[in-house]
């Protein structure tokens, strides 16, 4: 199991488009990926879960990946956050 902290850095927060991108990114990994914010924990493979986290700009999150490809899954999620979900802002 791997855990890493990150904060939401795209302007609009984890809105539906960004949530959809996150789900698409983690869907193909076997590992379970969870997002944790203020003791709430949601499945990153569920678009509803991600949206319901209501994570706006600057929200600190913990990402937890657990499974056979957890390193790759974690790297992919971190990369997506760092690219600001390809929103160009």
């Amino acid at each position: 199991m791997r855990e890493q902290g990150i904060s939401v850095s795209n302007r609009l927060g984890l809105h539906a488009r960004a949530a959809a991108k996150l789900v698409q990114t983690v869907q193909h990994f076997q590992s379970t990926v969870m997002l944790i914010s203020q003791s709430r924990e949601v499945n990153a493979k569920s678009i509803m879960g991600v949206m319901m986290l209501a994570a706006g700009l600057g929200t600190p999150l913990t990402i937890r990946a657990d499974g056979p490809d957890e390193d790759a899954a974690m790297a992919a999620v971190i990369a997506l956050f760092e690219r600001k979900f390809d929103e160009g802002g």
Binding site: R17, V23, N43, K45, I47
Partner: protein
């Protein structure tokens, strides 16, 4: 009676059209628990409905084109993902399996639970995501309900309409916009809804939160959607239409595109803008014209209105047809050609005319109309009334000399004055244009241009008259050829004269819609084409591959050519190597 409703502005702009109500069927939820034996069947029913909903969205996504696809795909994908959401499915399965709820009741319970969570959020954008949940679950509910009654979800597919609904999913909105929808009014929803975001990106005027919309507006009511003030006017009066026209003029002046989706650019490879208009006869042509991004209607043949029924159509019947045309084009210009019949067909339209030995050279087109001033005035009045609803131009067929144009202008002014006395409000100074199809008119076009506001080249008839060849006579097939140098010199003469006079000229014969002739017409200096709307995409495609400057340089040689073969050889040199 005029009524004003108000709402919040979802997307700016104005739209005038007929209302189309889409009411989500009230889904009746059966609260009785399932028997043990029913559980597996109910799970299957739910998953089949989910699968159908996914397929619906997939089909919707595949049909979106161009700007619509760019703007809407992500929203449609978000809905597809909700339908496959592992958390949602787990919840639904548990409710059916463990609590013995029916599929409809389980969907509703999930909807209520999720909506509650979203509505408690601080961020207004995230809060309005509950609309997505509603729309997705509503789609599944209506599929479940449809199993018992196989009626299709009927969404507006006709052009010139304004949608009135409780709420509209972004995918459905994009699909309707692609089919000519002019605007949308929803009873609920917020400016943060994906549909409102999409409407703004598509320049589709939208009002939201017009709570009484469904209760007040009936199907086919004329409504003016004012996305600048947030007002919705049901049965608009003359002053509303005048405001709408002012807005149209202002947006045109500012160079704003009235509807981005209906204005896909047509541009040569070297960046010269070309305008493609549609020829139209019926509603289907309008739908295609809108969907393919025509710049307007270049030729509406009004005689079809006269030929489709026995007896002459009344002023109101004609007004209704012309107004639908104007509304259907949503503010793009519509060119209505006045009755164009000769002795061969006039009898079928309910006109009594003397038999003629040679109807092609007889009383036809404007010659016929001027001999029947009452019938002609009825048509002009109907056109003038329709012109209150959007930009209209009048096109006169079979013009031979200038006094015919002047006679029409006098009659139009007369009709406009009468209408004003009757309390109507026709616009001033409607553009009146001449169809150039008689060789004499082509040869004296400089004089005609002092009297006409625009020209339309009717090359089908012009070719017949110049070549003295009936194009339906098989024995003369080798003569009737649009590449005939005599015809091309006339076409070029007309285009140059119009350009010189600074007046628009459009070509609306068959050759305008045939990609084979596109390079030739560009070489001759044509910038406005009008064609059957089914040809529009092919011609636009062709134009995109051509070098305008290179073709224009060929014009002097084309005009010196002595045969069709020579013309063909010259044009081929101006083509890109791969074409």
């Amino acid at each position: 009676m005029r009524q004003v409703l108000t709402g919040a502005i979802g997307a700016r702009g104005m739209a005038l059209g007929r209302a189309r109500r889409v009411q989500t069927t009230d889904v009746r939820i059966d609260p009785t628990p399932l028997a043990n034996a029913e559980v597996d069947g109910e799970l299957q029913r739910l998953h089949q409905a989910l699968e159908s909903a996914r397929e619906e969205l997939l089909a919707l996504r595949d049909k979106l084109q161009g700007s619509m696809a760019r703007e809407a795909t992500e929203f449609v994908d978000a809905h597809s993902m909700l339908l496959s959401d592992p958390d949602l499915l787990r919840g639904l399965n548990a409710m059916i399996r463990d609590e013995h709820m029916r599929a409809g009741a389980a969907l509703k319970a999930q909807r209520d639970r999720l909506a509650g969570v979203f509505e408690a959020m601080d961020d207004p954008y995230l809060r309005s995501r509950s609309e997505d949940i509603d729309q997705v679950i509503g789609r599944v509910q209506s599929i479940l309900a449809r199993k018992s009654s196989p009626e299709e979800r009927k969404l507006a597919s006709r052009v010139g309409e304004i949608l009135v609904a409780e709420t509209i999913a972004p995918g459905d909105l994009a699909s309707l916009a692609g089919r000519g929808l002019l605007g949308a009014i929803t009873a609920s929803g917020s400016a943060y809804s994906h549909s409102a975001i999409l409407a703004r990106n598509l320049n589709l005027p939208m009002l939201i939160g017009v709570a009484s919309a469904l209760g007040t507006i009936r199907d086919n009511d004329l409504v003016l959607l004012d996305g600048e003030t947030g007002e919705l006017i049901v049965h608009p009066a003359a002053q509303d239409l005048a405001r709408y026209r002012r807005w149209q003029r202002a947006t045109t002046r500012e160079g704003k595109r009235l509807a981005a989706l209906a204005n896909a650019p047509t541009r040569t490879h070297d960046g010269v803008d070309i305008r493609l208009y549609a020829n139209a006869e019926q509603a289907g042509d309008l739908a295609t014209a809108r969907a393919t991004g025509a710049s307007g209607i270049g030729l509406y043949r009004s005689e079809f209105l006269f030929l489709q029924q026995k007896g002459l159509p009344s002023e109101d019947e004609q007004f209704g047809a012309y107004r639908n045309l104007v509304l259907g084009m949503g503010g793009l210009p519509v060119t209505i050609r006045t009755l164009d019949l000769g002795a061969d067909k006039a009898g079928n339209a309910g006109l009594t005319v003397r038999g003629e030995e040679n109807p092609a050279l007889g009383v036809r087109g404007i010659r016929l109309s001027l001999r029947h001033p009452v019938i002609f005035a009825t048509q002009l009045r109907a056109i003038l009334r329709a012109a209150s609803y959007g930009p209209v131009r009048i096109l006169i067929p079979m013009v031979t000399q200038i006094d015919e144009i002047d006679a029409v202008r006098t009659l139009v002014d007369h009709c406009a004055r009468d209408l004003r006395n009757e309390g109507e409000d026709p616009p001033d100074n409607l553009d009146i244009g001449a169809m150039i199809e008689v060789p004499a008119a082509a040869l004296t076009v400089r004089h005609l241009l002092k009297h006409a506001d625009f020209l339309a080249l009717g090359t089908n008839d012009l070719a017949q008259y110049v070549l003295a060849t009936d194009r339906n006579n098989d024995a003369l097939g080798n003569l009737y050829n649009p590449l005939q140098p005599a015809l091309l010199r006339l076409i070029h003469h007309v285009i140059s004269a119009a350009n010189h006079a600074g007046k628009p000229v459009c070509l609306c014969g068959e050759m305008a819609g045939d990609p084979l002739f596109t390079p030739l017409l560009l070489a001759l200096g044509l910038t406005d084409f009008s064609m059957h709307p089914g040809q529009l995409l092919a011609v636009r495609d062709r134009i995109g591959s051509l070098e305008h400057a290179r073709l224009r340089r060929l014009a002097p040689r084309i005009l010196r050519a002595g045969s069709c073969d020579e013309v063909e050889a010259i044009v081929r040199q101006g083509m890109p190597a791969t074409a």
